[in-house]
């Protein structure tokens, strides 16, 4: 059974249909890349999965349970985390408070402290700035915080919306390493990326979204060699 399964999903903004019936699945332990041009509907898809948007039609199953109508906060409690587009850090709270909120669904104080240490280890800059209010961080620093905050919930599956956006080249490599580590530690990953090359390189499988529909899907390595993908998304 797939860990996350999306079936015939349709999503609207008012009267505008952004997602036109897509289906895909993410298996336990996989890294799945979701790629596509601007406005293809990647963000919309992730937001619908975590309950920020409501699906008009279709179903979303998480570990066999239908979560299409489950309120967002419950989905998070079930073990799903989301690094949202635009970072959405709590601007007036400190870095530390942001991270603590990341662990909102967890109870064990010791384990939370451990996770915090891990996040600080992955993102030393955050440790350095733990008392700075998040709103004054630089763009890239905020991106790190958003990522760290999501990891604080110790999710079983994590959805990431362009985690490498605004990061320096050296840190882009770093973040992909972190994603691999997260995956290696047993967390399933659904990754939306503009940096398709890097995303495909670490992904197991990938789906290509075009104007609200899935245009292509398959093994990540194979897609990397697919001519049309190369042309459209890899810039070669």
């Amino acid at each position: 059974m797939a860990m996350l399964e999306v079936k015939d999903l349709e999503v609207y903004y008012g009267m505008i249909q952004a997602i036109k019936g897509i289906s895909f699945e993410v298996n336990q332990g996989e890294v799945i890349a979701l790629i596509g041009a601007n406005g293809a509907g990647k963000t919309t898809t992730l937001q619908t999965i975590t309950g920020m948007l409501q699906a008009k039609k279709g179903h979303i199953l998480f570990e066999g349970q239908d979560i299409t109508k489950v309120p967002g906060h419950k989905i998070v409690t079930m073990g799903m985390a989301h690094v949202p587009e635009g970072r959405r850090v709590f601007a007036n709270l400190s870095v530390y408070e942001n991270l603590k909120l990341g662990a909102y669904t967890r109870k064990d104080k010791n384990e939370i402290a451990q996770s915090l240490e891990m996040v600080y280890e992955s993102f030393p800059r955050l440790k350095e700035r733990r008392n700075q209010s998040a709103g004054t961080l630089s763009g890239g620093e905020q991106q790190m915080l958003a990522m760290g905050r999501a990891l604080m919930s110790k999710p079983r599956i994590i959805l990431m919306d362009e985690p490498s956006m605004g990061l320096s080249p050296i840190f882009v490599d770093e973040i992909f390493k972190i994603i691999q580590q997260v995956s290696a530690a047993g967390t399933t990953v659904l990754l939306v990326e503009q940096n398709a090359k890097k995303a495909l390189a670490i992904a197991d499988r990938a789906y290509v979204l075009e104007t609200g529909k899935i245009a292509l899907s398959g093994d990540a390595k194979e897609l990397m060699n697919n001519e049309s993908i190369k042309k459209a998304y890899l810039g070669e």
């Binding site: 008012g14 009267m15 505008i16 249909q17 406005g39 104007t211 609200g212």
Partner: protein, 361 residues
């Protein structure tokens, strides 16, 4: 692409023309009904107040809908316009000045004085944002009301006398005439506000507002509303345009105040007419009618002013019903669910607007 651009121009112009047409049509219908005796005294008596609130709502909409600043002090500007013009009319009544001319001057004076107040208050206040601005405008409105309530102004053979203590301290000659008598306000202003004048001022206000928002100045004002930092970055003088919009908005409210002052024979600055409650009431018109929609403001002002009168049969329950209707209208107009529902079942959609949905992709 030229066409696209033309289309957008047309849309604004069309909305503008519809609004003018609506106002004029209502005017004609009302005039016909009055002359054929088909209109009740209540409705006839309501005509001028309806105009007053429409005008002030138009003014406030400029401030709230286009400038994006929440003012809870517009009743204060009404108050200033009302009192300044009433003082003028009262002083001139004895001189035998031509009545029409006197009234036109009164309107100008009320408008200008309100504009001056708007400008003066705007300078410090517009540095604040959001709810802080709201409370400060509310505070100014209350101060204006409070101060007017302790003002005593009299006129006798020796000229004007002024006091903020009591009318006895005016020390007037026996022939003296009290003009403003503290909390008792002004009594005996000429009743010159008519429906025609009201309609003319509505049309002028609409003309000013429509043309303003569809000009370079209006775009600058809206740019400030949408993104202050970006507006600054393209060289828009924030203070100047905020102040301009606020002042015009206050001036229009002042014009409404002039009509108010010349509608009844007594003018007092009470919490009910010039307090924050009135400011809020006008804000209700603006928000209910739709921020940015002058036509909506007029319609909401008319509906909500008439509602309690229409509900008179319900006796003391009417204000309760009024509150419930207000809440329901707000929910119906603004709740995302309700909006979705309306879009789904709107007649417009069913016939041919579907194409637009695809366009965005």
């Amino acid at each position: 692409m030229k066409k696209a651009n033309l289309k957008s121009m047309n849309k604004q112009t069309k909305s503008m023309l519809i609004t003018y047409a609506m106002v004029i049509a209502v005017f004609i219908i009302v005039e016909v009904m009055v002359s054929t005796g088909m209109m009740s005294s209540l409705m006839q008596g309501l005509l001028v107040p309806l105009c007053i609130y429409s005008i002030v709502a138009i003014g406030l909409n400029l401030c709230v809908g286009y400038l994006g600043e929440l003012s809870l002090g517009h009743a204060g500007f009404m108050c200033v316009g009302a009192f300044s013009s009433a003082v003028f009319s009262k002083c001139m009544m004895a001189t035998g000045m031509n009545e029409t001319l006197r009234f036109i001057l009164a309107i100008l004076i009320g408008t200008v004085v309100a504009a001056i107040f708007g400008w003066l208050i705007g300078i410090p206040v517009l540095r604040l944002r959001g709810d802080y601005l709201a409370i400060v405008t509310l505070a100014f409105g209350e101060i204006i009301k409070n101060v007017i309530n302790v003002m005593y102004l009299g006129k006798d053979s020796k000229g004007f006398h002024f006091s903020i203590k009591d009318s006895a301290s005016l020390n007037m000659e026996t022939d003296g005439q009290k003009i403003i008598d503290g909390a008792k306000g002004i009594v005996g202003t000429p009743n010159q506000s008519t429906f025609v004048v009201g309609i003319i001022i509505i049309l002028i206000s609409l003309f000013v507002c429509f043309n303003l928002v569809n000009s370079r100045t209006g775009r600058a004002i809206m740019a400030i509303r949408d993104n202050r930092i970006a507006a600054e970055s393209v060289g828009i003088n924030i203070t100047k345009y905020k102040l301009m919009a606020f002042t015009i908005s206050a001036a229009i409210a002042g014009a409404g105040g002039v009509l108010y002052a010349h509608n009844l024979s007594t003018l007092t600055a009470l919490p009910a007419n010039f307090g924050y409650n009135m400011s809020i009431m006008i804000l209700v018109f603006v928000v209910l009618g739709g921020m940015g929609s002058f036509r909506g403001s007029i319609i909401a002002a008319v509906l909500l002013t008439m509602l309690p009168e229409v509900l008179r049969g319900l006796a003391d329950y009417r204000m309760l019903i009024y509150a419930i209707v207000l809440i329901i209208m707000m929910l119906f107009n603004w709740a995302p669910k309700a909006i979705e529902w309306r879009e789904k079942y709107s007649i417009k959609r069913m016939f041919g607007k579907k194409a637009k949905a695809e366009e965005v992709q």
